[in-house]
Each structure stands twice: as structure tokens, then as C-alpha cells.
């Protein structure tokens, strides 16, 4: 039968083990939250752009395609220029040259721009996940900054616990992806 002193020591060690286990669970919990925030950040980073940005992008694509098609050698002015008698107009060669440079640009120049524009915008919307949240650049930046601030707060808490445990002789390994901007801070900068 254990003596009262021995029982006290056993109880003390049991409490210490339970406390250490509790601290490790706290760190695990924080790490789960960090992982969730990082997933959320990835979702925001990869979320679709806003409808206005899509339209601007489509306009840029068509403008660029038209410029490529007509680059340097096409101008419609030749259609109204007087021609010497017997001159043959080889329209096919001229249009073929446009198509070689940019089929999309050529179709856009020849009156199909509004149709193509509407089709590309519809294609973009159809390609989005259902119920996808779109972000403007400012919204995306703000959302990411907000998540980054939350992650930093969690990482600071994690580091404080690790250092506190270390000072009590309990070693808790840092994560492989731990942030050096956090774990290299002075203690006073972990508030």
C-alpha cells in the first residue's frame, strides 16, 4: 500500500502529465485552425473575378485580337481608293492574311464583335462553380489581408505556448511550415 507521500507524488505527476497533454491539445487545436484559415485563403485567392472584370478582360482580349489581325498591313482605306483600269482586287489574299494573324480578331473586325463578346462572357459565367463568390481586386486583397491577420494571431499564440512549455521543460516541436517572422521574434513582440 502506497504511503501518503508516495500517493502525493503520484498525484502530482498525474496532474503534470494531464497539464502537458492539455497544452499539446491546445497547440493541436490552434494548428487545425491555422490549416482551416490557409484553406480559406486559397479559396479566396482562386475565387472568380467580378462580372465587371470579366467584361473588361473580354474587351481586352478582343481589342488585342483585332490589333494582331490588322498589325501593320491592313487598312480599309484601299476599298475607296481609285484604281487603274484593269487592276484586279484579290480580297481573299488580304483576308487570309488577317486570319493568319488572328482569326478571332478578323471576325471581330468584320462585325461579329458583339456576338463574340456576349458568347465569351457567357462562357466565363458558365465556367464558374455554382454559388461561387466573386471578388473585385479590392475585395480580394481585403479578404486575404483579414485572413492573414487571423493566421498571424494564431501563430503568435502557438509560438507563445511553445516557448512557455519550453521554459517548463516540455518540448513541443514547431510545424514544418512555421513562419520565421513569428518564431524568430523577441518574446516582447509576441503580444
Amino acid at each position: 500500500m502506497a504511503s501518503p507521500a508516495a500517493s502525493k507524488i503520484t498525484d502530482a505527476f498525474s496532474r503534470a502529465r494531464a497539464a502537458i497533454s492539455g497544452v499539446r491539445k491546445d497547440v493541436e487545436n490552434i494548428r487545425l485552425q491555422i490549416a482551416e484559415k490557409q484553406l480559406a485563403r486559397n479559396e479566396v485567392e482562386n475565387a472568380p473575378i467580378s462580372p465587371e472584370e470579366i467584361e473588361a478582360r473580354v474587351d481586352w482580349i478582343l481589342d488585342t485580337a483585332e490589333s494582331s489581325a490588322t498589325a501593320g498591313s491592313w487598312h480599309a482605306g484601299w476599298l475607296s481608293q481609285p484604281l487603274e483600269a484593269g487592276t484586279k482586287i484579290n480580297i481573299d489574299d488580304k483576308v487570309e492574311a488577317l486570319f493568319e494573324r488572328s482569326p478571332l480578331g478578323t471576325l471581330s473586325i468584320f462585325g461579329f464583335r458583339s456576338i463574340i463578346r456576349a458568347a465569351l462572357i457567357e462562357e466565363a459565367r458558365a465556367g464558374m462553380p455554382i454559388e461561387a463568390k466573386c471578388y473585385t481586386p479590392a475585395e480580394r486583397e481585403a479578404a486575404i489581408a483579414s485572413i492573414d491577420a487571423e493566421v498571424e494571431a494564431l501563430e503568435i499564440l502557438e509560438e507563445r505556448i511553445i516557448r512557455e512549455a519550453e521554459s517548463e521543460g516540455v518540448k513541443i516541436a514547431r510545424r514544418e511550415d512555421a513562419n520565421p517572422a513569428i518564431f524568430l521574434r523577441y518574446d516582447r513582440d509576441l503580444k
Binding site: A173, R174, E176, A178, P180, A181, F183, L184, R185, Y186, D187, D189
Partner: protein, 131 residues
């Protein structure tokens, strides 16, 4: 603390690097220990002559010696298994410590805060310094 105001605790940086180096040494020692044990095992097995039974000087089988060798072999095999487990644990710790040490040094270099006495070993070449 903003990105521009980061001040690194040089003492902590050195401790992280030292920890990684200590584990690297421990990994080497663990590897040598396993290698030495395996060499010893090989020698013991060699004692069980080609026929599988140790012999007396007169050529007669020595069953007692065989039993003794087999006992030693079994004990050594258990010791090797334990040593290999330790080796693997140290390797995992060393791997993690090495990654954190590398990140810490890169971070310190990126912010021009590598302690002077670490420059020669871990500093960037002058042309890469961000003055």
C-alpha cells in the same frame, strides 16, 4: 510588427541553428552506432561456422557455444532494432530542425539581420545582399 519593422532575436536564431547542427551530429552518431552493431552481428554470425555449428578444436560440434552465440545474436538483433528506431526518430527530428534552420537563416539574410559571427558560414554573397 510590419514587414519593414521586423527585428530578429539573434539569440533565438542561433539556438535554432545550433539545435539543427546538434541533431545532424546525433544523426551521424546514430548511423555509426547502427553500423557498428551490424558489424558485430556479422562477426557473431561468422562464429557459427559455415556448417552452422561451432566446433571444438578437435573438430567436434560445440553445442554450448552455438547456444551462447545464438543468444548473443538474438540480444544484438533486439539492440539493432532499438537503435534503428532511435536512428529514424533522430532523422525525423533532424529533418524538421534542418528545414526550420534553413528558413530562419534565409529570413535573416532577406532582412539583413544575420548576426555578424554567422556571416562567413551562412551569409549571402555580397552581390545578393539587399542593401
Amino acid at each position: 510588427m510590419t514587414a519593414k519593422q521586423i527585428t530578429i532575436d539573434a539569440k533565438r536564431l542561433k539556438a535554432i541553428v545550433a539545435d539543427s547542427e546538434a541533431l545532424a551530429a546525433a544523426q551521424r552518431d546514430a548511423g555509426h552506432h547502427v553500423r557498428d552493431l551490424r558489424k558485430r552481428l556479422s562477426e557473431l554470425r561468422g562464429g557459427l561456422n559455415p556448417g552452422g555449428t561451432p566446433l571444438y578444436a578437435d573438430g567436434k560440434p560445440n553445442a554450448e557455444k552455438r547456444a551462447s552465440l545464438e543468444k548473443q545474436i538474438a540480444a544484438l538483433q533486439a539492440e539493432i532494432a532499438a537503435a534503428e528506431e532511435t536512428q529514424e526518430e533522430v532523422r525525423d527530428k533532424r529533418s524538421l530542425a534542418g528545414k526550420l534552420s534553413t528558413k530562419a537563416i534565409e529570413f535573416a539574410n532577406a532582412h539583413n539581420q544575420l548576426p555578424a559571427n554567422m556571416e562567413s558560414e551562412y551569409g549571402l554573397p555580397r552581390r545578393f545582399k539587399n542593401y
